[in-house]
Symmetry: C2
């Protein structure tokens, strides 16, 4: 350990402590405890170029314990990422600053993932490592390892307690993701006190059970031991590695070290002073770092720029030697590759016969696989039911990372986070899948998809009471409302083949948000009035009234659009002139112009009936105070689906009645 | 293995196969594979009395793999639970039958928990075992072990893959819950095929890491080995036990055994025939079981009735010896114990000063602990922040099961399931707690609380953008909509002390549904117009207009009620006469009579403005087509809370503007 290394580690500590102190809010404990391992990793073992944070072959680093963001900001500042300044650090947790409370992807340069919900970063890192393995298998040629990087993730006891990390790491072990390296900041302290109150397990043994190499660094300040462990981790060519680094939370601050109080509140001015003295830090001014420390980081950054330059040369040679691979590479990295499908007739073709939308989705997936080479995905052990298997594309496994079909096991939450990781890595367009009711399990990670604006697709089948015999535990009733309520998340509930294909088109052309496709188990008819343009606008008139101003409007989605159309026909016999509006995506419809919305749902028409086999929560802004609902009022039941639709009132007769009740 | 034992095991298999075949829907694989272990357990090792399924000291059995419900129904029928008949089995998965697709608590006699979402049963069983340990610590006296039973849970590979089971079992190991016995139906088959595609971990080693005793039964049909393992499990007085039982999915059915296709579809008539032949089953008629088999089950049931009778005698002696304990026992088992609090002035008292509702909740919890002896709860490592600690009541730990403060660790999902288990066990009224944004993690288990109608309380603090500096990952925006959308789930978002106390009163007096309390981090003023009666109705006029028919209505909840009141005052200066309605619980308000609702929100008044620092999704049915919203339009941000409220438009000025816009 050279003097400059120690000074550099302490620079991270001091900057982090000052950052939190200035904000008078934040988490100093993790940065102080983890500064040494972070420095050793970033300075000596990680390929990254501060001058080009988007270098495709950089090593990825995820701070799973996102509350320790000050650590990350200190590192990014010292390494010169995007000229993140000490002024930025001093604006920590302030309105519109570059240094928000938790690291935010796309917001601050060099942040690989938004983290905060514990465990999430762990699972996203697994997704990144899977992306690397897949792209390496697809692209690398002898002597041309153009995809060849590690994924590092750092987290603490909380990340280890969360079930998502067990899910993700069990899969990582199964898949032998040897370029995944987990740094476990083990400080034995949680918010409620010593981890012994709730967490006495042998973490290393658990990871061995998962198939990891496990290494332990007894002293979290021993840079040499940390470096040795990282190199041992890299040297294992068959297993991912867990490096347990024993640290003290709040290291260096005499009054706080090893205490729960170091975790989530500023040290206090006196303690920051004591920290400076204890670390023999030269300067007394906040945010002041000696030139030799900056020089050290600059020199490292320079060396790393050279590493990227070498890679760029390798890639240029590769492009020359394998021009067809270079072309493929560009296709993988072209986010707009699917746009042209809007004109391809064969993409929009379907048989005019009743079909479950999950089957239609399966058909589309097997078209998309040919149009989008970087299309990859799978299900949480339900592919035969969710129809998400890409035929002939192989299975992603330890024996074949080139397989495009992912098998997540029964692990919905980790699946969604891994999907985020695949999307974050770049070069791929991913989808994940489970039963719609189990979107409950994926919610925390779907929220991160939305927050980060990742174009991940969620294929959620077995919609509503159409599930039938499996009963209420398997019948999604309130899940649609949940997805619609989430900002920057688009949910589609298509009514037939055209709407299903259009929903997929929306999903694979989106750039800044996730999309869920909510699909039926049961067959639905092909509707004469459905069209892609309307579907891509989220809602449209699928069967219009004769009069310009209809007597009433029926609003429906998915399996209930047919019901609306049938009711319209019945009402016509009695001289009641109804418009039927299909609203496959309320989220997308809401984004349309006021004029378009008024053209579909004229404000003057107050006789409105919403028909949807889901809870009515959220329909009020279309139905108003004068309309009616044919919707679910509670949980479903176990019985054949057709009987359930009747039992819960989803009949033409009942829709007719509802319309009449509001005329 | 006696002949009658083998015949009895096969009776379970045949009945289960017939049940699924008759329904032409369901999961025969688990019942066929697990019949032997289930029989051995229920017949020889479990204390349960079919004549009294609610016997307090019965051993609990949870089928975590709920899709194998036919196994459970066969057992319940054969043991004579509630006269569940073969006709009931023949109505499997049919409308309104006693035998729905997945086991449903309260619906079918002898079902200890609703299961289906994988892993849930595992974690609920941990909760039951914790309840047993706590009640035993509270009640047992030397020579009077009146609380002394085991909790058994059976599940397969899917349950083991789900993160929730790692969360729950890591805690179970930490707590040394030695009366928890897990039967792992290990058949190496998942829906997508061999479990090797996604699950190669060493499960036993993982459980050893958690602190379990682990035992392996190599042949899942070896009743003697299974029995021996169960007794070894019982003999371990310090650790919970995992018994891995190696089985073949679909055992006994030549064409299906060991195949994924045995899992989730009927065997087919031919294969059921082949099963009969293969098992040398005497009868060819569906659902026909020989008398000697019934006699065997009857004899076992009789023996078990004697076991309960012995316990009843022990309990009677205990009641005599310790009358004060008998009184306490009755208090623990009195679900209505908190009802009288409505009249106790000291329960409703508070200081008239600004206070965060989380702090007020903490005050109430520390009152309730004295009124409700069976009150127990805790948080997912956030008690100092969520204010859920009961002072002086000790910590539930391996050293002291009498402690009433639970430490779940950073494991939100398992926490909610454990809360369900505590409620299912009986004798306790439980609460669980985390940050509101992490209600996302608890959602799948909160849904089970609602489905089962369990009166569990969720204390969810750090509401909305009031979280401030922690930023969007920690700011719940869409979570309120999510909870409100869930059937049979009550969410309260109180505005001050009176509303907070009333919300707690609702929670601890509820009998058939869970309640969430959504609480602020920041201080709120005490409102002059708030009252408990209105709060208990879910919504009420907190500040009325002068005129009988107001010019406009402001609807608000929680921290925004104050804003509505301030806006009303401003508008009054301009001669605009506004009513302010506080809606702490939309769920409860919806249950009120049409008359009451009309009295609060007269339909004639269309100038309505909803004010809530959450996404507006779900407000439309009150705001209608003519109203306006002062609500969140997307995710929050990282900054001091007061700045965020301004940034996102939560100002008196803005509410005034919104009201004027709809006049």
């Amino acid at each position: 350990m050279s003097n400059i290394d120690i000074k550099s580690v302490n620079a991270i500590r001091i900057l982090s402590a000052d950052t939190v102190q200035k904000a008078n809010s934040g988490h100093p404990g993790l940065p102080l405890g983890s500064a040494a391992m972070a420095y050793e990793l970033w300075a000596k073992h990680m390929n990254h170029n501060p001058a080009n944070p988007k270098w495709e072959n950089r090593d990825r680093f995820v701070l799973s314990g996102g509350h320790g963001s000050a650590l990350l900001y200190s590192l990014l500042h010292l390494f010169g990422y995007g000229n993140l300044s000490v002024e930025d650090l001093a604006q920590f947790r302030q309105l519109d600053s570059l240094t928000p409370g938790h690291p935010e992807y796309k917001h601050t340069v060099g942040i690989e993932a938004t983290t905060g919900p514990l465990g999430a970063g762990m699972a996203m890192a697994v997704g990144m490592a899977m992306a690397e393995a897949h792209l390496a298998a697809k692209f690398n040629k002898d002597n041309y390892p153009i995809v060849d990087h590690y994924t590092f993730v750092l987290g603490g006891d909380g990340c280890m307690m969360e079930g998502i990390s067990s899910e993700a790491f069990s899969l990582a072990g199964t898949l032998g993701l040897n370029k995944l390296i987990v740094l476990y900041d083990s400080n034995k302290i949680s918010i409620e006190g010593d981890t012994d109150i709730a967490f006495r397990e042998n973490v290393e043994k658990r990871f061995e059970a998962f198939g990891f190499q496990t290494l332990v660094v007894e002293d979290g300040n021993d840079l040499i031991a940390i470096g040795k462990a990282i190199e041992e981790a890299k040297a294992d060519k068959t297993r991912p590695t867990l490096i347990t680094v024993k640290t003290k939370i709040g290291h260096g601050c005499p009054a706080k070290e090893g205490k729960a109080s170091a975790h989530g509140e500023p040290l206090g001015a006196d303690n920051v002073k004591a920290l400076r003295e204890n670390l023999a830090w030269e300067s007394h001014e906040p945010f002041e770092v000696a030139e030799d420390v900056y020089d050290n980081f600059k020199a490292i950054a320079k060396k790393n720029a050279d590493v990227e330059a070498e890679w760029a040369q390798l890639f240029a040679d590769y492009a020359k030697a394998f021009p067809e691979m270079k072309e493929l590479w560009d296709q993988y990295h072209n986010e707009n590759i699917a746009k042209d499908l809007i004109q391809k007739e064969e993409f929009w073709a379907f048989d005019n016969k009743p079909e479950a939308t999950r089957n239609l989705s399966g058909m589309v997936i097997n078209r998309l696989k040919d149009y989008i080479p970087g299309f990859i995905g799978g299900s949480a052990d339900l592919a035969p039911s969710t129809k998400t298997y890409m035929n002939g594309e192989g299975d992603f496994s330890v024996d074949d990372y080139a397989g495009r079909n992912l098998h997540f096991g029964v692990r919905e939450l980790a699946m969604a986070a891994i999907g985020n990781g695949l999307a974050l890595h770049g070069g791929l367009r991913a989808y994940v899948s489970t039963f719609f009711v189990f979107s409950d399990y994926v919610k925390p990670m779907a929220r991160l998809s939305a927050l980060m604006g990742l174009p991940l697709t969620y294929v959620l089948t077995h919609d509503s009471i159409g599930v039938g015999e499996d009963g209420p535990t398997h019948e999604p009733i309130e899940q649609l409302a949940m997805l619609r309520a989430m900002p920057n998340f688009v949910a589609y509930r298509p009514a037939d083949a055209t709407e299903t294909i259009a929903a997929w088109y929306h999903a694979v052309t989106s750039l800044d948000h996730p999309t869920a496709l909510v699909l039926t188990r049961q067959n639905l008819p092909q509707l004469a009035g459905s069209n892609k343009e309307g579907t891509l606008k989220g809602g449209y008139v699928i069967e219009d009234s004769i009069k310009e101003v209809p007597d009433a409007i029926i609003l429906a989605t998915g399996s209930e659009v047919e019901l609306g159309i049938n009711a319209k026909a019945e009402l016509a016999k009695e001289g009641i002139d109804v418009r039927v509006v299909s609203l496959p995506s309320i989220d997308v419809f809401e984004q349309q112009s006021a004029e378009y919305k008024e053209s579909v749902l004229p404000k003057a028409v107050r006789a409105r009936v919403a028909v949807e086999a889901a809870i009515d929560f959220g329909w009020g802004n279309y139905v108003g105070l004068d309309g009616a609902y044919v919707t679910m009022k509670g949980f479903g039941a176990s019985a054949p689906a057709d009987q359930l639709f009747k039992k819960f009132g989803f009949t033409t007769e009942n829709v007719v009645k509802a319309v009449k009740s509001v005329l």
